[in-house]
């Protein structure tokens, strides 16, 4: 059985599949124009049709992001500065009858927040655990056209914080809200290098949901029941 994982066997199967594809396409794989077309597309990654919806100035993008995120059942607050975040988070937890406990990763922007300004707020760091009720992460970016958060994995923002706790609070800097996916993809390329990605990029558009029982929409399937977004600097 484990024989099937033998690299030599894998190479044989690979050759079979590629040979069949080439026979069907009537090519041999060495044609220079085809190779150039592929190399060119991978290098130039043309953008295609980008909707006008998100082509706005900074204020317009933030406003659209808010409208779209609320339309998919996220809640959203704006704060002027980092110093205002603890108060906002604490208020949100109180209003939703949630314990004053949050957990986040090692993101420098989160470490710098003066959480201690809220005396009752307990802050821990690390990946999400069974007992974690509220996960806090800092978004890499946002996309105004659909109210979508862009979250990247790593020690700074462990992916489990986005999925395991019942409540997810995501912070995003107003300047990181782009109009469209293409803009944020370009920022990912600039940050991680061309052709490179972090292990996980999560595009999150609202809290978890399911319509699998009689097409009735219910929030909170397997991921967070609540998604609260805090825009910083708007």
């Amino acid at each position: 059985m484990t024989d099937i994982l033998d690299p030599a066997k894998n190479a044989e199967r690979r050759n079979t599949v590629l040979a069949t594809a080439r026979r069907s396409l009537k090519v041999d794989g060495d044609e220079a124009p085809r190779r150039a077309a592929v190399a060119d597309r991978l290098a130039s990654h043309p953008a295609g049709v980008v909707p006008a919806r998100g082509q706005l100035d900074t204020k317009g993008r933030v406003d659209l992001f808010e409208t779209m995120a609320k339309a998919v059942d996220a809640t959203l607050a704006r704060v002027a500065a980092t110093a205002d975040v603890p108060g906002e988070v604490s208020d949100f937890l109180r209003q939703n009858n949630l314990p004053q406990q949050i957990r986040h990763g090692s993101d420098a922007r989160l470490e710098k927040i003066p959480w201690e300004s809220q005396k009752t707020l307990e802050v821990s760091t690390g990946i999400a655990e069974d007992a974690t009720t509220v996960g806090v992460s800092h978004a890499f970016g946002g996309v105004a056209e659909s109210g979508t958060l862009i979250l990247t994995s790593g020690d700074d923002n462990p992916t489990t914080l986005n999925f395991l706790p019942e409540t997810h609070i995501a912070l995003i800097d107003a300047k990181d809200i782009d109009g469209d996916y293409e803009s944020v993809i370009q920022r990912l390329r600039d940050h991680y290098g061309a052709g490179e990605m972090p292990r996980t990029v999560n595009m999150v558009t609202g809290p978890s949901r399911s319509a699998d029982i009689e097409q009735t929409l219910l929030l909170g399937a397997h991921g967070p029941r609540r998604l609260h977004i805090v825009i910083v600097g708007a």
Binding site: M1, T2, I4, L5, N10, R13, R14, T16, V17, L18, R22, S24, L25, K26, G29, R35, V38, R41, L42, H45, G48, V49, P51, A52, R53, V72, G105, I127, S146, T148, S153, D155, P158, T159, T160, D180, Y181, I185, R189, G195, M197, P198, R199, T200, N202, M203, T205, S208, R209, S210, A211, D212, I213, E214, Q215, L218, G220, A221, H222, G223
Partner: protein
């Protein structure tokens, strides 16, 4: 999965008489169509994006061999493994071998049609592994011992009270007198039970909506978050995907994402679109330690360069079945294999042979709604017609159909005789129908009239009207 497509007619009769199924199918008719229409109307560029999405996939398919090579190189560079599988059996064996290599016992699964195509769950069970479906709909039908009846809403054929019955039957550790009236309670119960399964599973298996050549990334698109927990918590993540999921770049993926959710559920974006590239990195505190991609061909490379290449553009949104009057009437199980509705009627003969599934491309009125809503502009009716033609040429269709078509062809090739037959036939049918203009029964057409009346022809024949129009006489 057992092929029951040859019994299509029997399946249909059973489906039409199944009251619970007919009640459930009402949810398809009422929900999906309006939601898609609203979402499309709100995006002025929607039609242009459909063109773009079609062109991207056409380009990817024309260069599939090269993009597959580029994709594999990037996956390997990010620390992942690509396993090539020529057919379903190889794909099953590879997944099972990976599970065994880490002494796995339980395997959580994200929603995946490709693992249905290769019959993975049965195979895992035969090898002593326990597969656990984690999508709510998939979980429900796994409990019921069924297969999906829709490619994005697998339990669309099940009513709420049936879910309640199933949960009471299986979740015996919970109080018998608990109230499960509210669907939210059902959801919470499934959430609690599956949460434990996510945390204890050894391997997570997902499908992929896209494989991106630029970065060696697999993408899943979900609403529940189960796919993410499936690939995030176990030690090993296995992606099972077919060749044609390849797209060149991240930007190309963004283009197709804009038409995917709108066409499927009417959302602008599904809740979770997750890009996975390789296993856990040195600075990652969570995520899988091993990342494997099983790249399945299963006949697809042979579809390239044929009349059916366009079918490989399909992104499995389900819009074609959501808009199909035949699917609405008979549900997904009647199609007898993995893929139902118009996309299944085209794809199934390619994958299992038209001799096994000739009924499916015939189960269409050619109303054209599937093609009109397909985000990838796949000419589904045309390809069904290709299959009908092949079936006829290979003499696979029943003698009665062949005789009927023969008689029709005989008349159609002789216009004078055809017109005479029509001018006799139409008044006879009108007389048979009587004052109502509808026929509740008709010799040789019992299959039609059992479930609905046949309207009688009215007025003049098409040929007569055409002639009058050519002569300038008002009709």
């Amino acid at each position: 999965m057992e092929i029951r497509s040859p019994q299509f007619k029997g399946n249909v009769r059973a489906a039409l008489d199944d009251q619970a199924l007919q009640r459930a199918m009402g949810n398809v008719r009422s929900g999906f169509i309006q939601k898609r229409a609203n979402a499309a109307a709100k995006l002025p560029e929607f039609e242009d994006l459909r063109d773009e999405a079609r062109d991207i996939k056409n380009h990817a398919l024309e260069h599939l061999d090269l993009y597959l090579e580029a994709y594999e190189e990037k996956v390997t560079a990010s620390g992942g493994h690509v396993h090539w599988a020529v057919d379903a059996e190889e794909a099953r064996d590879i997944v099972t071998a990976i599970c065994k290599s880490v002494d796995a016992r339980t395997v959580t699964k994200g929603k995946s049609m490709i693992t249905e195509e290769i019959g993975l769950n049965d195979h895992l069970e035969r090898n002593g592994l326990t597969p656990i479906e984690t999508d709510l709909g998939e979980y429900i039908i796994q409990l019921r011992g069924e297969h999906p009846s829709h490619i994005i809403a697998p339990a669309i054929h099940v009513n709420k009270d049936e879910v309640e019955d199933e949960f009471r039957r299986v979740h015996t550790h919970l109080p018998v007198d608990r109230n499960l009236e509210d669907p939210r309670t059902l959801l919470s119960e499934a959430r609690e039970i599956l949460r434990h399964k996510f945390q204890t599973a050894d391997v997570g298996v997902t499908g992929a909506n896209f494989l991106i050549a630029e970065t060696g990334t697999s993408v899943i698109v979900t609403n529940e978050g189960n796919g993410d927990l499936t690939q995030l918590l176990p030690r090993v993540h296995i992606v099972v995907a077919s060749l044609e999921k390849i797209v060149p770049t991240l930007d190309d993926t963004a283009q197709i994402l804009r038409v995917l959710a709108r066409s499927a559920t009417g959302q602008d974006m599904s809740v979770y679109t997750t890009f996975s590239t390789g296993p856990r990195r040195p600075d990652d505190p969570d995520g899988p330690e091993e990342y494997h991609v099983v790249l399945l061909d299963n006949g697809r490379s042979s579809m390239l360069g044929t009349d059916f290449q366009d079918m490989l553009r399909c992104i499995r949104c389900g819009a074609c079945m959501n808009h199909c009057p035949v699917y609405h009437t008979v549900g997904g199980h009647a199609y007898g294999w993995v893929y139902p509705g118009p996309m299944g009627a085209v794809l199934t003969p390619s994958l299992i042979g038209v001799d096994q599934s000739g009924h499916l491309p015939n189960a269409s009125t050619f109303c054209g709604r599937c093609e009109s809503v397909c985000p990838m502009r796949i000419p589904l009716p045309k390809m069904m017609r290709h299959w009908r033609q092949r079936e006829f040429e290979r003499k696979l269709s029943p003698a009665t159909i062949r005789a009927g078509l023969g008689a029709w062809a005989f008349l159609a090739k002789r216009p004078a005789l055809y017109q005479m037959a029509m001018s006799i036939g139409m008044p006879v049918m009108a007389w048979w129908a009587g004052k109502t203009g509808r026929m509740a029964s008709l010799p040789l057409a019992g299959g039609w009239t059992k479930h609905r009346d046949l309207p009688a022809p009215e007025g003049k024949t098409f040929q007569q009207q055409w002639k009058q129009r050519q002569e300038g006489t008002p009709t």
